[in-house]
Amino acid sequence: MASLLRQILKTPVVTEALKPDDDPQIDILARQIDERARKRFGRSLHIREVDAGSCNGCELEIGALNNPYYDIERFGMHFVASPRHADCLLVTGPVTRNMADPLKRTYEATPGPKIVVAVGDCAHNCGVFVGGYGVVGPVSAVLPVDAVVHGCPPEPRVILLGILAALEKRP
């Protein structure tokens, strides 16, 4: 116990300040999203991520939004555990047969008003999986999609741009 306390006291702050050449757009972008989300939903943006059959590449990038570099939670953007709490669905991957019905149920369970962002090339047009026997089609074949994020996988910054685009589509 004492050694642990000593360790805590001796360890300095290890986080680093942002360097000038780091991406300053994240800050601006995230603030814009937050501002629009507050106008649209009356509160900060709550996001539910649905993996409809992705290879998990997009999930890594979405996960990066929560890492210490991007940390979008500081702008009030929050990944939630249930569509009942969400304003925005981030859907990745080509929609597989197994996930088509749960995806529709998730969309229905999300209270309106809501936005849907299809993340990644597979969500847009099934990517390399197009024509696969287990694939129903792109996300737009199952749900009304507000914005599409291209890339395989898309960078976190691009994902934020996609969310902003979806928010701006219906003011």
Binding site: S82, P83, D101, P102, L103, R105, T106, E108, A109, G112
Partner: protein, 677 residues
């Protein structure tokens, strides 16, 4: 106000007449079940209403003396009334009125297989026996009525005698009630012999001159006798067997009301017949109350049988009542009569409250049983959609028994807490320690009771039905719902307007202890023990209602979206949602089973049957997690073993040989002659 004793006698005779008509009417209408059902139960309803009036008149101050010399040997039948008796008559009537109304509908389905004449007869005799017991004024009247009540209720318990478990439950009840009767009989005879009177009225004066050993012995004997009827641990074993086995209107009466007759006896012994006793009497009562409270609710918490759960919960509530009574005895013994009176007020209040909400809950469980024909909670669920009114009324009962404001359980448990917490005014450390135990036990009990009734209501009424029986349940008929609604109303009124009850309770307690309870109250607030505790149930109730109304109002004012959209419950996107995904009663209770494993001593068993070709495939999994009944194992089984051994030894005498019987007769004759000379 009403001192006109002729009015009291008239009401008394009217009550008797109603029940008499009910009992005999039901018997004589044996040919037509529907007529027997209506006559038996409507007369019982009228008799109970008359008894209620009698109780109210007695509480207001009416008195009565009635002796019928030739009815019974040794002093005849003697009846009288004081405020305590009148209060218990009132409590019984509060349980009996809705029970009779409920029975009109509930017993309809018994017509096919059972004798409704018998049910109606026993029902009337049972209630009239209970009503008369508090009014009995000498030993023989009391014991005769006690036996009448016990026998009538025994026959009601074994109504469904075609079931094996009903008969064994009835047998356990029969034995326990007669063991209690034997203890009572001994205690009464001892007291009658030493005081030289069979009349209760002369006991309180004469008992003060008895030796301490006699007084202690009488207290223990009568304590066991009345305690076994009240169902205190460890004399409770008949209660979780007999109450579920009986028809539900009878369960409601037995659990809500009959066990209160035991409480009446205990209070009579402790505050009237024997007067103030040594400290250990009160300490004993308090400890028994604490143990009954905690263990009762712990057993209730894990039981999957809805009616058995309620029966265990009665053990718990008797524990709470005895906590108050024990505290009152300890305060009395330490000359703090104001606090003793406060504790007694709490005791009597909880007695009345328990009669109301436990009857309500048993009737709710009965309605569920009527609609689904199962008491097993693992087969219920989803009933709130199918029986919305029963569900709402059961919820009122659950909230009341969980002691949540603004319902009645809250105010009486609050008063019990105030009485127990005031024990710092006693300066004996052992006594303080016992009180601290009592406070801790009451706190644990009320907390666990909330969990217990979240489980009872949630598993029974919410989510999806777990069986076809629950799936096809229908709301019960109006007499049953009306009876429950009546009791729910009583629960709410007793909860928000305690001053209605506290005034007469104070008068009763003043008669018993000669002191005013250390409390003040008006229409809205109750202040206990100086300024020690303060509560305003009416404002709490109003505040809660306002708060619940304020939420939709505020949303409307803020311009929130009022549009509604209905969609299935979110089930993580599963295509199929069945009852198998639900929380079960066993699973809900499992954390408690683990924490209190010392008590339950569960026998866990996991049977897995594998596919013969490969152990990677499972055919069936069976999981048992049965609790053992430690009191049966530790006390009753060894006791039965001893009795059986003795009986085996005694059987040597019964050889069947005529010659040895002749020898017995000769020996007995000679012995008697020697004895006589």
């Amino acid at each position: 106000m009403i001192t006109d004793s002729t009015l009291m006698v008239d009401l008394f005779l009217l009550t008797l007449a109603c029940f008499g008509v009910g009992a005999l009417g039901a018997l004589s209408a044996a040919g037509s079940p529907a007529l027997a059902r209506i006559v038996g139960h409507v007369s019982a309803l009228l008799g109970a209403i008359s008894a209620l009036t009698f109780g109210v008149a007695g509480l207001v101050g009416g008195t009565m003396e009635l002796n019928i010399p030739d009815l019974l040997p040794v002093g005849g039948a003697a009846f009288g009334v004081d405020r305590l008796s009148a209060f218990f008559v009132l409590v019984i009537a509060v349980g009996a009125i809705p029970a009779a109304l409920y029975a009109i509908g509930y017993t309809r389905e018994y017509a096919e297989k059972h004798s409704l004449a018998g049910i109606g007869f026993a029902f009337n005799i049972f209630i009239v026996g209970m009503i008369l017991i508090p009014l009995a004024r000498n030993v023989l009247t009391f014991l005769a009525l006690w036996e009448l009540m016990s026998l009538a209720s025994y026959f009601l318990v074994i109504t469904e005698h075609e079931r094996e478990d009903t008969l064994s439950a009835g047998w356990v009840y029969f034995v326990m009630t007669h063991a209690g009767f034997a203890a009572l009989f001994l205690g009464f005879l001892l007291l009658a012999q030493t005081t030289g009177s069979m009349h209760f009225a002369e006991w309180s004066a004469a008992a003060a001159h008895l030796g301490p050993d006699t007084r202690n012995l009488v207290f223990v004997l009568l304590g066991i006798g009345f305690g076994s009827k009240a169902g205190v641990i460890p004399l409770h074993i008949w209660l979780p067997r007999a109450h579920p086995a009986a028809p539900s209107h009878v369960s409601a009466l037995m659990s809500g009301v009959m066990i209160k007759v035991g409480v009446y006896g205990l209070l009579r012994v402790a505050f009237d017949w024997l007067g103030a006793g040594p400290l250990w009497w009160g300490g004993m009562m308090l400890i028994v109350g604490a143990v009954s409270g905690v263990l009762g609710v712990l057993y209730a918490l894990v039981d999957p049988d809805l009616k058995r759960l309620l029966a265990y919960s009665s053990v718990e509530n008797i524990g709470i009542i005895l906590l108050g009574a024990g505290a009152a005895m300890l305060f009395q013994a330490t000359q703090l009569s104001g606090l003793a009176a406060l504790a007694l007020v709490a005791t009597l209040y909880h007695t009345l409250n328990h009669a109301a909400f436990k009857s309500l809950l048993f009737m709710g469980a009965g309605a569920v049983l009527h609609a689904t024909h199962t008491r097993n909670m693992e087969e219920l669920g989803g009933l709130i959609k199918r029986m919305p009114q029963t569900a709402a009324l059961f919820l009122v009962g659950s909230l009341a028994i969980a002691a949540l404001p603004p319902f009645n359980g809250f105010i009486s448990e609050w008063l019990t807490f105030q009485a127990l917490l005031s024990s710092f005014q006693i300066s004996a450390h052992t006594v303080n320690l016992i009180f601290a135990l009592g406070v801790a036990a009451l706190a644990l009990t009320s907390g666990l009771a909330v969990a217990c009734f979240v489980r009872a209501f949630g598993i029974t009424f919410l989510a999806l039905p777990r069986s076809d029986r629950a799936e096809h349940a229908r709301e019960v008929e109006w007499t049953m719902r009306a009876a429950m609604a009546l009791l729910a109303l009583v629960c709410i009124v007793l909860g928000v307007a305690p001053s209605l009850v506290l005034t007469p309770l104070e008068a009763i307690v003043f008669d018993l202890t000669g002191a005013h309870a250390d409390m003040r109250f008006n229409l809205t607030a109750v202040v206990a023990n100086g300024e020690f505790g303060w509560v305003a149930p009416l404002w709490i109730g109003l505040g809660l209602v306002m708060f619940l109304l304020a939420i939709p109002l505020a949303l409307r004012l803020l311009g929130a979206n009022q549009r509604q959209r209905f969609y299935e419950t979110w089930g993580c996107g599963r295509a199929l949602q069945t009852a198998r995904f639900e929380y079960t009663a066993t699973a809900f209770a499992n954390p408690f089973k683990r924490v209190f494993t010392v008590l339950y001593r569960p026998i866990k068993d996991l049977d897995i049957e594998f596919h013969p070709e490969s152990r990677y495939f499972v055919r069936t999994i069976e999981y048992y997690n049965e609790g053992r009944l430690i009191f049966e194992d530790a006390i009753y089984r060894p006791l039965l073993g001893v009795i059986e051994t003795l009986a085996r030894r005694a059987r040597v005498l019964q050889s069947g040989n005529v010659h040895s019987y002749l020898v017995y007769i000769l020996v007995a004759l000679v012995a008697l002659l020697i004895f006589a000379v």
